[in-house]
């Protein structure tokens, strides 16, 4: 069936199967930043924004996003770079496979939380797994980026 979506400010018509998950459709349409890391909704790699809210695209049926506004990291290039620079300064990006989902969650958090504590930050990001970095380097980068002492 066909759905209409806005991906990164562009209207697109997508041909999707009734049982297809959004992550697979987005990748099929060339939004290759979106990664899949599990089949059980545990890793957060597939996080994109639906109407500005961070959402697991692996747990969202594509048909459910008809007429919705989607954002992937490709759509917020400059903002992503701003934050990425903090990660890179810390050396906290290793293989980078978790980055797209992680960055989307961090940027959503920045919009959502005013003056978060370290605990708030960890809580917000806890659904984003990373097997390489051990998290503490990422936390240093996020804290500097958010201006949290």
């Amino acid at each position: 069936m066909k759905i209409q979506v806005i991906v990164n400010h562009k209207k697109i018509q997508m041909e999707v199967a009734y049982d297809e998950f959004l992550v697979d459709v987005l990748r099929r349409y060339g939004f290759n930043s979106v990664k899949r890391g599990c089949d059980t909704g545990n890793c957060g790699l597939c996080t994109i924004w639906i109407e500005g809210k961070p959402t697991l695209s692996c747990s969202t049926l594509a048909v459910r996003v008809n007429n919705k506004n989607l954002t992937t990291i490709e759509g917020i290039g400059e903002e992503a770079k701003d934050f990425a620079a903090f990660m890179v300064a810390e050396g906290a990006e290793q293989c980078g496979f978790c980055s797209p989902g992680f960055v989307m969650t961090v940027l959503a958090m920045k919009r959502e939380l005013k003056n978060p504590t370290e605990e708030d930050i960890i809580h917000y990001l806890t659904g984003n797994l990373c097997r390489c970095t051990g998290y503490v380097g990422q936390l240093r980068a996020v804290k500097t980026y958010m201006g949290v002492a």
Binding site: K35, V88, G91, Q94, G96, V103, T133, G134
Partner: protein, 760 residues
């Protein structure tokens, strides 16, 4: 030094941090056939018949392959230098299936849905056999996991396959019985380590196509491109020269991609059909149908005198390699080779035992490669010895550990080591003096500290080889060509730092392409903690070689003898005649267009070391244990590291933090459970719990640098050593808190609580 020991940003940092499509599945041709694997539901069975007729006729199915369609020549998927110590015990598809998840048929179709539909239409009838599920009962079991007669070994690894013994090990120095007999204080305990999963975020995957020269091209998320080429050539029985392997960006490896788990499947499909094909493992397949850490049982017996001088250590091991023998003998012997030398005071040491086949997922290489298992046992026993002697465990270490300049019968002469200083600094950082052994926080909560030490190696002595080429391009930039595989740890950056240091220039003057077996210089690959040390040494040689060539060229251009020239990176000047100068771009221009002077300026370097200098770590854990629930909170983890010169402090720190957290996962969370039928119950991230952000509090990493004379700029490795200390240090802290020895990983609240109940 300008660039060495600087926290240079990772060359590919911005690209990978902003989600650029650089990974295997981002690069696949959209027309590639999708491959799915039909897997065995039985732990051990013989395929009686397999009917693919209906499935084959399904529209969109390109081909279905069964054991009748594959070469009958056995191979190993282990990424090791030829001749591999791993047995050739697999076929691409076999008439025997040896674990739940073993491959039965390969289905290639136009899309995933069709492939899965076809898979369900294949009818297989099995003769179900009695599986070997308990590795402690494998030897002499009535079932033989590998009954076939064409299994091969390249050399004697002690295999007795009719007894399910894959390999045996014996490492011995001195008379262990005699020294133990004379020791008044003895500790003897048995430890179990689990089959930890790599759980890299990007699962195993590859795609294949025929290139314009009629050669099979494999694009794979692999740590070992050159080994993959040889492995696939053997498995498919085609000449190596007909295969090309390309490695793009990798989403983590940790040793899981040092085994060629998936490449043979698309490769055989492409060879048979001529069409591009891809295989992407889902998380379940990655956790259930690839490789894991070898689960082990290790019994340690340590003898000491009353003053705490260790006299002898005897380690007896049993390792579970599962259905196939990837890395079986080497992981096992490393559990002794790279642990026993820590206690150089011992007059006699021994490591012995067997690796056995069982009907479970095969084990393979995983960061730490046996040392992690050996260290959990040895360090736990050492801590118990200190306890028995009523001695501070750090003092026991100070008395017995190997020191710089000493010679060990197993590991040879140690040219660089600051382990003693690592322990001292670690004690300060964790606050050992105030916190050891415990503090009562409340009626139910106790805080305590624990510790452990470890070593590893830097590359495999006399086996690993790296070649590096540095090419001056016509634009005056350098290409740094390596065969080592960047997988996130930053080796492209670290090696460029070394080249830039020698060529006295800046990082931006280099490009480092991905690995392609057609154009990259041969390298055994990124494993065994080898890139900084082995490929690093080759990089230095290549840079020096090129530097000399540049000087010679400048001398020719300026008409001035070599010794009067001063190499300044971007320019070469004449000593005392600063105005006489040629720039790198002038040289590049001169050799690319100068009347008959054309030349490709390239420097090459090769390194294959005869030693593997060990890095060291002292690790300290502070925990809070709840006596009512057994819950353990890890408050702080301190690791002080001797990796020689730290080439890039920030990247080294992240490597350490990441490895420690993986070690913490193994220590506290990551459990592998099989049911009675041999099905793995922990094959999703729901059940197999890797640490998440909330599990990690404070991690403190510091360095006590030694200088390794044989290392590049004095460096040793860091990649693997970092994973080893958390299991024994946390077990120790838990013991110090509540008096419970947990000797089987992971250290769960249930085990702690059961231990507490025993006292009551």
């Amino acid at each position: 030094m300008k660039i060495i020991n600087q926290s240079i940003r990772k060359l590919d940092g911005m690209d990978v941090a902003t989600g650029k499509p650089l990974y295997t599945d981002d690069l696949v041709n959209a027309n590639a056939l999708v491959i799915k694997i039909l897997r065995s539901p039985h732990a051990f069975a013989k395929i009686k018949s397999i009917n693919i007729e209906k499935a084959e006729k399904l529209e969109g199915v390109e081909c279905i392959l069964t054991h009748k369609d594959v070469p009958n020549e056995r191979f190993t998927m282990a990424g090791q230098s030829y001749p591999e110590p791993s047995p050739y015990d697999r076929l691409i598809l076999d008439e025997y299936v040896r674990y739940v998840g073993d491959e039965v048929a390969i289905i290639a179709a136009i899309d995933e849905k069709t492939a899965i539909k076809a898979m369900k239409m294949i009818a297989v009838s099995y003769e179900v056999l009695e599986p070997v599920l308990n590795f402690e009962e494998a030897i002499g079991h009535t079932s033989i996991v590998h009954p076939e007669d064409n299994l091969q070994v390249n050399f004697d690894i002690g295999m007795k396959k009719e007894k399910n013994i894959t390999a045996t090990a014996l490492i011995e120095s001195g008379n262990v019985e005699k020294e133990l007999g004379k020791s008044p204080v003895i500790v003897e305990e048995t430890y179990y380590t689990q089959a930890q999963a790599h759980a890299m975020m990007e699962t195993q995957r590859a795609f294949t196509y025929m290139d314009s020269n009629g050669r099979l091209t494999i694009v794979s998320s692999t740590q070992i491109p050159f080994h993959v080429r040889r492995i696939v050539a053997r498995a498919l029985q085609v000449p190596k020269s007909k295969i090309r392997v390309v490695k793009p960006k990798i989403g983590g490896g940790f040793g899981g991609k040092q085994t060629a788990s998936v490449e043979v499947f698309p490769a055989i499909v492409t060879l048979k059909t001529g069409k591009p094909a891809k295989i992407i493992y889902d998380r379940k397949e990655s956790l259930n149908c690839t490789t894991s850490r070898h689960a082990m049982r290790i019994t340690v017996k340590i003898g000491a005198d009353h003053e705490g001088n260790i006299q002898a250590i005897d380690m007896k091991g049993l390792s579970d390699t599962g259905a196939y023998g990837e890395h079986a003998s080497t992981v096992f012997s490393v559990a002794g080779y790279k642990t026993l030398p820590l206690y150089n005071s011992a007059k006699a040491v021994r490591f012995s035992g067997n690796v056995v086949y069982t009907n479970k997922m095969p084990a393979g290489a995983l960061r730490g490669y046996g040392v992690t298992q050996g260290i959990f046992a040895l360090e736990s026993a050492a801590n118990q010895l200190a306890d028995k002697l009523n001695m501070d465990p750090t003092e026991l270490r100070a008395k017995n550990i190997i020191k710089e300049g000493e010679t060990n019968p197993i590991s040879g002469t140690l040219d660089s080591c600051t382990l003693d200083r690592c322990i001292e600094k670690g004690k300060q950082l964790i606050g050992w003096q105030e916190k050891y052994p415990r503090k009562i926080i409340s009626d139910t909560k106790v805080r305590s500290v624990g510790m452990a030490i470890t070593m590893q190696g830097s590359g495999i002595a006399a086996i690993d080889v790296a070649n590096v080429t540095i090419k001056l391009n016509d634009d005056g930039l350098y290409s740094l060509l390596i065969g080592a595989t960047e997988m996130g740890m930053g080796c492209d950056t670290v090696l460029t730092q070394m080249a830039a240091e020698i060529l006295e220039t800046t990082m931006d003057k280099f490009v480092v392409p991905g690995v392609d077996t057609d154009s990259s210089p041969y390298d055994t690959g990124s494993y065994a903690s080898s890139t900084t040390y082995v490929t690093g040494n080759a990089t230095i040689k290549a840079a020096e070689d090129l530097k000399l060539k540049l000087l010679k060229k400048a001398s020719e251009m300026l008409g001035i003898s070599l010794e009067k020239l001063d190499f300044q990176g971007d320019t070469i000047k004449v000593l005392n005649h600063e105005e006489k100068v040629v720039s790198l771009s002038q040289i590049a221009e001169y050799v690319s267009a100068g009347e008959g002077k054309q030349e490709q300026l390239m420097g090459t370097g090769t390194f294959g070391g005869d030693k593997s200098p060990p890095p060291f770590i002292a690790g300290f854990a502070e925990v809070e244990v709840d006596k009512e629930t057994g819950k353990i909170d890890l408050i702080d983890y301190v690791a002080v590291i001797d990796c020689g010169t730290v080439i890039n402090p920030k990247l080294a720190r992240i490597q350490a933090e990441g490895g420690l957290v993986q070690g913490i996962g193994m220590a506290m969370y990551e459990d592998v459970i099989y049911n009675q039928r041999g099905q793995m119950m922990t094959n999703t991230f729901m059940q197999y719990k890797i640490p998440c952000r909330k599990d990690i509090n404070k991690i403190t990493v510091d360095f006590e640098s030694s200088y390794e004379p044989s290392g590049p700029f004095g460096a040793k490795s860091i990649g693997e050593v970092v994973i080893n200390t958390p299991p024994p240090a946390i077990a120790h802290a838990v013991y110090n808190a509540v008096g419970v020895h947990v000797r089987s990983l992971p250290i769960t609240p249930e085990k702690v609580l059961k231990g507490i109940w025993k006292f009551q």
